[in-house]
């Protein structure tokens, strides 16, 4: 049982690392896409493709470049988490009413102040929605890390399969679902708090 807990911890660590990486790339990309029509076309097209790629395929396609281990797993998961974040951030920012931006500029806010005081608060709810999607998808996809030796609950699922242990299989799958649901609820709560702040 201690092993199972360890795998839960590993699973969360993988997902968290991947999401952090995804945010650090996805947030700026989303902002860039919202501000420049040229960039937006390219970025959203890539994001659209990225959303439809099967996670396992991405993992395997990266093998020749990144090899096996935790780092490649995190990169693959991050790549899959970036599209929903980018799409949501772009949408959120572009949804800011132009009247607000005009008023903000006219009353003497600098670009940075406009972004921080007007754009960010307005775009926050949608961005959080994107993060929620990314988080649940990442937690589910992190089961694939087992294939390349990165551990996580995928190890338990494969063990259940290879030792013909349906109980273990169910337990592990249920654990993944609980984690994903938990993340969804937590972020939903946090998103509402942030929107009302």
């Amino acid at each position: 049982m201690g092993d199972f807990t360890a795998h839960v911890g590993e699973h969360l660590a993988l997902a968290l690392s991947a999401l952090t990486l995804a945010l650090s790339a996805g947030l700026p990309l989303g902002v860039l896409a919202a501000e420049s029509t040229r960039v937006r076309g390219a970025v959203l097209a890539l994001a659209g493709i990225g959303r439809t790629l099967p996670s396992l395929a991405v993992l395997m396609l990266l093998l020749p470049w990144l090899g096996v281990g935790a780092a490649p797993a995190i990169v693959a998961l991050a790549l899959l988490a970036i599209p929903p974040i980018v799409i949501a951030v772009d949408l959120g920012i572009r949804g800011v009413p132009s009247a607000m931006l005009d008023a903000a500029a006219g009353m003497g806010m600098t670009r940075r102040q406009r972004f921080v005081r007007v754009v960010v608060p307005f775009a926050l709810p949608l961005s959080f929605a994107g993060l929620r999607t990314a988080a649940t998808e990442t937690i589910a996809s992190a089961t694939l890390a087992t294939f390349i030796g990165a551990g996580g609950l995928g190890d338990e699922i494969v063990r259940g399969l290879q030792t013909d242990d349906p109980a273990l299989l169910f337990e592990a799958a249920a654990a993944v679902a609980v984690l994903a649901l938990g993340a969804d609820l937590l972020l939903g709560f946090a998103g509402r708090r942030a929107a009302n702040a």
Partner: protein, 263 residues
Amino acid sequence: MNPAALRFDGVAVRYPGSDRYAVQGVTLDVRGGELVVLLGPSGSGKSTLLRTVNRLVARDAGRIFLDGKDIDELDAVELRRSIGYVIQAVGLFTNMTVAQNVSVVPSLLGWSRSETAARVDELLQLVGLDPARYRERRPSELSGGEAQRVGVARAIAARPRALLMDEPFGAVDVVVRTALQRELIRIVAELHTTTLFVTHDVEEAFRLADRIVVVRDGRIEQAGAPFELFEQPATPYVRELIHAGDDVYRQYFTRGREILRSP
């Protein structure tokens, strides 16, 4: 308070990426404390002209002076913080309360919290909103008229020496509009703020203006007191514009704002 004098000198603005001009050869003097209405149909360039004052629109020719100082020599952001700006859609920040909206410019200027709080209450009173009831409201909880009042309060919060208003009352119904017009006259008279007011509504122009500037295709057709335009329209266009609603408003023209101002 020291109201600012505003001077336009040969101001021109081109349409982006085009050789045609949105505003051409505008030369105009606005006295301190004056309420000047820029009157014209949509597309006449009046909003563009308005926005050259706070440099939201870049000029292609000419100069603008605020109290004798060339506005190009001032930092744009600082300039904007010293000029009030009110737009038709109001643009209240939905993530902030009414009080926070009104506090924006004072806080940008580094006012203390107590100063700002006192000012907010003062302003809400001024625009006819009970501070106790409206301070913590969100923009989504306001009617059109209330929102625009907050917009005006926000614009004059830091005691700007000039006020730019772009068809601010166009989105509210007639009854509310009339009330807001009266309020504006009162506020501007009290604060002596030099005001530039854009509208396409002739009636509104006649109600509010010390002077009306008729703008057509980016040029000034005529500038003068309301009765001047009425008695002596300089061009057929001005005559057509002013007298279009004559049959209804004939009784108002001679006595102008006096009728509206009386209690």
